[in-house]
Amino acid sequence: MTEIVSLEALAADVQPGQSLAIPVTGVSMAGTAALIEAGARDLKLICVPISSMQADLLIGAGAVSAIETSAVSLGEAGGAPRFNAAVRAGSFALRDSTCPAILAGLLAAQKGVPFMPIAGIVGSDLLRVRPDWKVIDSPVGEPGKVVVVPAIAPDVALFHAPEADRAGNIRIGRHRELAAMAYAAKRTFVTVERIVDRNLMATEDSAAGVLPSLYVDKVAVAPRGAWPLPLWDEYPGDDVEVARYAAMARSEEGFRAYLSGFLSQRKQVA
């Protein structure tokens, strides 16, 4: 059964040492603030397949001991300052990837198989720095080399969506990568703008854009929960705020100042 809980209760259930999958669209910034408030640490981030301010905040807050990602960037606002500083300092285990390899790893977990073959990648130094990826002779079909990547089964997947219904069905629209995260993860926590009384599974049209509650463990309401990042059909990204973060987070002190303001601002919204 999907539990509807407070944001604090949701965050408190993410344990040190767990792997946490986070998306690039439908980002739970409210959940991120709650994790930092709860003193989250030793998280192993899995970015699906890249991240922006969310990963940078968690890294800056000292909550991350490992990261698997295809990129961390603030987009128009430039590089991700805390990620870049942590890479230079070697302060976490870094697993560089490429977008479709992360999606393929999740797909393997979704299907309950140990690995997934994937096209391309040969010739990339990623193969050198990812000894867990293998190049094998294709066992079927035309002879040739193919890369295989191991299954990725996150302990927790965390994302933000517009709506849940009372049963814990989540409207994800066409953002199927959010479903892919949930299928692969052991548990899925979702923050939503609102909980609606109607049944999201009621019609074919509605159900087609829904992640069923079967895959959803906890739901918490968090209005404007993606802010300052965008949420489709709800609000655009707050580019001024992200640029302000980019400027402040260049230094450790600036980051601390930004973080304390961000945490209190998130509380006021909630």
Binding site: V87, G123, S124
Partner: protein
């Protein structure tokens, strides 16, 4: 008159030419010049009664006809349904390899860039990859990249994808997949072949006579400054505004 606007219009026009003949082009997020080039080709094809061009702008809600999430563009490329794509690089070397990870020794690189994104995969699968990097300097165009995010040629595996051309602020190069290197095709107005040599850290083939990159004609300019900027403004409002203000 604005040099900045003319520079961008020239690049957009070159990109439209490089894309000629394609059916579907994917454009990465925050790539207004490649997107404008694709839109220019689409408008030209429409006028000439040529087959329509599909444009997918990754990360855009409006110019995204996919319904299967983040994986669909990658699956689409694997099926041979993406004809062209753009890649850049913090470093690009003479063999066409690109580095999106950083300089120095991995993992504690001196300078860290965002990461490889989908490059390691798409370079193998998209037939016409256009390398687009505005800064033309020896720190970008190096003899050998410090980290190969994506390799241009890999004789050990069959592939349909790879680099087609390299476009910068100063010049246009073709890529030869057999020899695995670049050849200078044209030099943009205001630069000489010697400028290109001085600002390129890798070796390349230089034909005896190098034409100037053609500037867009009057009809193209009218299209660019009208319809294309309007279309582009839906996804890149700041860029379209800056282009119009530079007028």
């Amino acid at each position: 008159m604005s040099g900045e606007r003319e520079r961008r219009e020239l690049l957009i026009n070159v990109i439209a030419g490089l894309l000629d003949g394609i059916r579907h082009v994917a454009v990465g997020a925050s790539s207004p010049i490649p997107a404008a080039g694709a839109m220019l080709l689409r408008a030209r094809n429409e006028r000439a009664g040529k087959p329509p061009v599909r444009i997918s702008i990754l990360g855009s809600q409006e110019h995204n006809f996919f319904t299967n999430g983040a994986v669909e563009v990658f699956d689409c490329a694997a099926q041979g349904r993406v004809d062209a794509f753009f890649l850049g690089g913090g470093q690009i070397d003479g063999a066409g390899n690109i580095n999106l990870v950083g300089t120095g020794t991995y993992p504690a690189t001196d300078v860290r860039w965002p990461g490889s994104f989908g490059s390691a995969y798409l370079y193998h699968l998209v037939p016409r990859v256009i390398l687009f990097r505005e800064e033309h300097s020896p720190r970008v165009f190096v003899p050998k990249v410090d980290f190969v995010s994506a390799a241009a040629t890999t004789p050990e595996v069959r592939r349909r994808g790879g680099p087609h051309a390299l476009l910068t602020n100063m010049a246009l190069f073709d890529f030869d997949r057999i020899s695995g290197g670049f050849a200078l095709r044209s030099v943009h107005p205001g630069y000489s072949p010697a400028d290109i040599r001085a600002n390129t850290g890798f070796d390349y083939v230089e034909p005896a006579s190098i034409p100037a990159t053609p500037a867009p004609d009057a009809e193209t300019l009218a299209l660019l400054r009208g319809r294309i900027m309007e279309e582009l403004g839906e996804t890149y409002p700041a860029f379209a505004r800056a282009m119009q203000q530079a007028a």
